[in-house]
């Protein structure tokens, strides 16, 4: 169906070109831009909205195309091998580093040209409200006293929430006293509510309603600053995990070698889309922070994060590089 859309849009473009006469001086985009989306659920919805809003500022549509699988590697591989003319872009994230170091892809972030950072997200650490734990410090102390392992639910091994979990446990000194229980999307809160696990690290959206209802308690969020939706919840750094911080960014990238003017055009469209009130509104309800950064700054962040994740994954024995 997406290909159908592409086809229709492509057909329309041909007709427009035939009747419209001269092509513009800046001949990008000359056909619909295909935005590869790597994950489902909210990541997909944000990507779809971004594509919709970017289309309003470009001569051609931006078409979101879902290519899930392999923790992102399938979509990265597709875009990496696509023509580098700006018509193929990827809705990327820190997963570019994790897929490379886990050995799923053979290329790293340098295979892509950054376009712009769009948003950031932080994970939340939650426990059952009955546990009586108010801070990470309480949790660490109780577990050490009881001399039993801490069962922590997060997404599968090597995922962002898993890495955040391991780094957080390390900083509160529980890394050798914890069991990682991998869950696919959405199941960790149930297990936490039912008392089968002690803590869970997931996106805050999964916990907020339970937190407000008093069933679960969000101990902290993994970023450097508190988030708007949870003004009373401290950062993990404040909650006992000193020096710990993990932030997930999402942005756009094109295959290396994409012409500069195409990147600039896309960067500008992305900036306007992020500033759009509809994007800001969606951010509040879905639970992410619109956080535009131009390509230079975005590139620096990708490189810095790559180094950090490489070091973390090596230390945790998750790296195959």
């Amino acid at each position: 169906m997406n290909s159908m859309k592409t086809l229709l849009a492509g057909g329309a473009a041909v007709i427009a070109l035939a009747f419209g006469g001269a092509a513009r001086a800046q001949d990008f985009p000359s056909q619909p831009v295909e935005m590869t989306i790597l994950f489902g659920s909210t990541a997909q919805t944000i990507g779809q909205l971004l594509a919709e809003l970017m289309s309003e500022h470009l001569d051609e549509r931006v078409v979101p195309v879902s290519r899930p699988g392999g923790g992102g590697s399938v979509g990265y591989q597709h875009v990496q091998s696509a023509p580098a003319d700006g018509h193929n872009i990827v809705w990327n994230s820190n997963s570019i580093s994790t897929t490379y170091y886990s050995g799923a892809t053979s290329f790293d972030y340098t295979a892509f040209e950054p376009i712009a950072r769009i948003s950031t997200e932080v994970a939340a650490v939650a426990v059952n409200a009955n546990s009586g734990w108010e801070t990470l410090g309480d949790m660490a102390e109780a577990i050490r006293e009881q001399g039993r392992p801490l069962r922590v639910g997060a997404s599968g091994r090597g995922s962002f929430t898993h890495l955040a979990t391991e780094a957080m446990l390390e900083s509160i000194g529980l890394d050798d006293q914890a069991i990682h229980v991998p869950f696919d999307e959405g199941r960790a809160p149930v297990e936490l509510l039912a008392g089968r696990i002690d803590a869970a690290v997931q996106w805050p959206g999964q916990f907020i309603s339970h937190h407000n209802a008093g069933k679960l308690r969000i101990l902290c969020i993994t970023g450097t600053e508190r988030v708007e939706q949870l003004p009373d919840v401290p950062t993990c750094n404040e909650s006992g995990a000193e020096g710990f911080e993990m932030t997930m960014w999402r942005g756009l990238a094109a295959p290396a070698g994409t012409p500069e003017h195409a990147i600039e055009t896309l960067e500008e469209a992305a900036r306007l889309a992020v500033e759009d009130p509809r994007f800001q509104e969606a951010a509040k309800t879905i639970g992410f922070v619109p956080d535009f950064a131009p390509r230079d700054e975005f590139g620096e962040q990708i490189a810095a994060d790559d180094e950090r994740l490489a070091e973390l994954m090596t230390r945790l024995g998750l790296s195959e590089r």
């Binding site: 169906m1 149930v190 039912a194």
Partner: protein
């Protein structure tokens, strides 16, 4: 009651009703084309909701979900290829019914059972959302594993006579689904170092391969063997089910609907599991079990009422806990979020009007889907006039397109071709295909829940016998497998007497 009225007046705006209608039709069309499922339809509908207001947006998504779930039966019955994975069990008896010339009866019963199942699940949801949610919460990995293993034990009943062949088929199905990246430890299995194989085998792709490709090959083989018969032409009468037919299956529909609601409420199970369990249940409780697989109306009614009841069941953890049970509800969740509704316990307190709006949208969606599909029956059955080899060409195209649309990956088209050719080979050596499908449907969930349970219990197997639901399902499984294996052994060691064990459920898909 005031809330219901105010929600009703809010829901009956022309835009909302139009959105529900549009969604329902969109869903039915996607559901009834093999390969295009409600998940794809819902992913496409999400951007359409961006410009709509809350009520209309939710109406569009719910209409698509419900329409897609119901529409799956159309191609199951007419083409023998399930429109969605949830409708796979419907093929087993729906397609033979169509071959007997009772396609319109099967289609009518399917849509009636679907609407019935959906409404029952809605009633359960309205009456006891908190109770069901807390019961479902007791279904941890160990209990879910027990339930799924129980589902797998129905292979015994679906092996078409030979238990050994059934087991071979079931294990092949389980094995196919291990290809790709393991979701828990990120281990790459049977990927031969390629990125492409990391995608693994998608459930829908496997379904197309198993149901559609053998049919297509078969149609061509028959065509070129000059078996061109004209028997189909007279079969295109329109005979709608009467109330009497529905009345006769009333209690079966109630039981299967409740079953579907319960299974839908347990995250990580979903429509295909519910449909197969309901089918096995119908067969077990039927007065005419020998009719199953040859065109039994009960064999259509049971899975169709169960898979639609899953829609209501899956809404329970979605709305009350914020937990999506399947990819369809995951998309529904993000559509709710983008329109400012955060599912979870606070939703019932903060925006009860939205909840009532959802209930009303579900009822309206069922009305529309029912009307649309009943009106469509006389057009749908015209398909049967098309010669099989011509139809086969159309199915090839739909399968290719459908397989590609799941993940926009050419790999999936190759997979359909390769697995499908393999399936045809298996069919020729009389390995039944239905147990393969059961293995494919249940495999990933069985593995996931087994491993999670083992991690939680620190490797202690007794967790599978430490709670009431787990003991119940494990016990039933042992009972079923034990008696079937016992019977099969007795009949192979005793002089052949008709009517026992291996001779009993002989049926053929061809």
């Amino acid at each position: 009651m005031d809330l219901l009225l105010s929600a009703a007046s809010a829901s009956f705006t022309p835009v909302t009703v139009a959105a529900i209608l549009l969604g329902s039709i969109f869903g039915v069309i996607f559901g009834s084309i093999p390969g295009l499922t409600f998940t794809v339809a819902m992913a496409l509908a999400v951007p359409l909701t961006f410009s709509l207001d809350q009520g209309a947006a939710i109406g569009l998504m719910l209409g698509t979900y419900i329409g897609g779930m119901t529409g799956g039966s159309v191609s199951s019955i007419l083409l023998g290829v399930p429109g969605t994975p949830s409708a796979a069990a419907t093929v087993l008896d729906g397609y033979p019914l169509a071959k007997k010339g009772q396609a319109s009866l099967a289609l009518g019963m399917a849509v009636a059972a679907s609407a019935f199942g959906g409404i029952i699940s809605l009633i359960v949801m309205v009456v006891s959302v908190d109770l069901v949610a807390s019961l479902a919460m007791n279904f941890g990995p160990a209990e879910t594993f027990a339930l799924l293993i129980f589902g797998l034990s129905t292979i015994c009943g679906l092996s078409e006579g030979s238990l050994v062949r059934g087991f071979i088929a079931g294990i092949l199905g389980l094995m196919v689904m291990t290809v790709g990246v393991d979701a828990m430890d990120g281990v790459r299995r049977m990927t031969f170092g390629t990125v492409t194989l990391q995608q693994g085998i998608n459930l829908l792709v496997a379904m197309l391969a198993l149901f559609a490709v053998p049919h297509i090959i078969d149609a061509f083989v028959r065509h070129f063997q000059e078996e061109r018969t004209t028997k189909q032409v007279k079969a295109v009468g329109v005979e709608l089910p009467r109330l009497r037919d529905l009345g006769r299956n009333f209690w079966l529909m109630v039981r299967c609907s409740l079953m579907g609601t319960g299974i839908g409420a347990i995250p990580g199970t979903g429509g295909p599991v519910a449909a197969f369990l309901a089918y096995a249940h119908a067969r077990k409780t039927s007065k005419n079990p020998q009719e199953f697989g040859k065109g039994s109306v009960e064999g259509v009614v049971a899975p169709e009422s169960a898979n639609n009841a899953v829609t209501g069941g899956a809404m329970i953890p979605l709305l009350s806990l914020g937990i999506p049970g399947d990819p369809g509800t995951a998309l529904l969740l993000s559509a709710l979020l983008i329109h400012g509704l955060v599912p979870g316990p606070m939703l019932f307190i903060e925006s009860p009007d939205a909840i009532y709006g959802i209930y009303i949208a579900i009822i309206l969606a069922y009305l529309f889907v029912f009307a649309f599909q009943v009106a469509g029956i006389r057009f749908f059955v015209q398909l049967l006039k098309v010669p099989p080899h011509v139809l086969a060409v159309a199915i090839v195209i739909m399968c290719g397109f459908g397989a590609y649309s799941v993940r926009n990956s050419v790999f999936d088209i190759y997979t359909v071709a390769i697995l499908g050719a393999g399936a045809y080979g298996l069919m020729r050596v009389r390995i039944p295909l239905t147990p393969i499908i059961l293995g494919v449907v249940l495999g990933p969930a069985i593995e996931r829940d087994f491993r999670t349970a083992m991690i939680l219990s620190d490797g202690d197997l007794s967790v599978f016998f430490s709670s009431a639901p787990a003991i119940l399902f494990m016990g039933l499984t042992i009972l079923i497998v034990g008696t079937q294996v016992g019977r099969s052994l007795i009949s192979s060691f005793s002089p052949k007497t008709p009517g026992i064990g291996r001779n009993a459920p002989v049926s053929s898909e061809k």
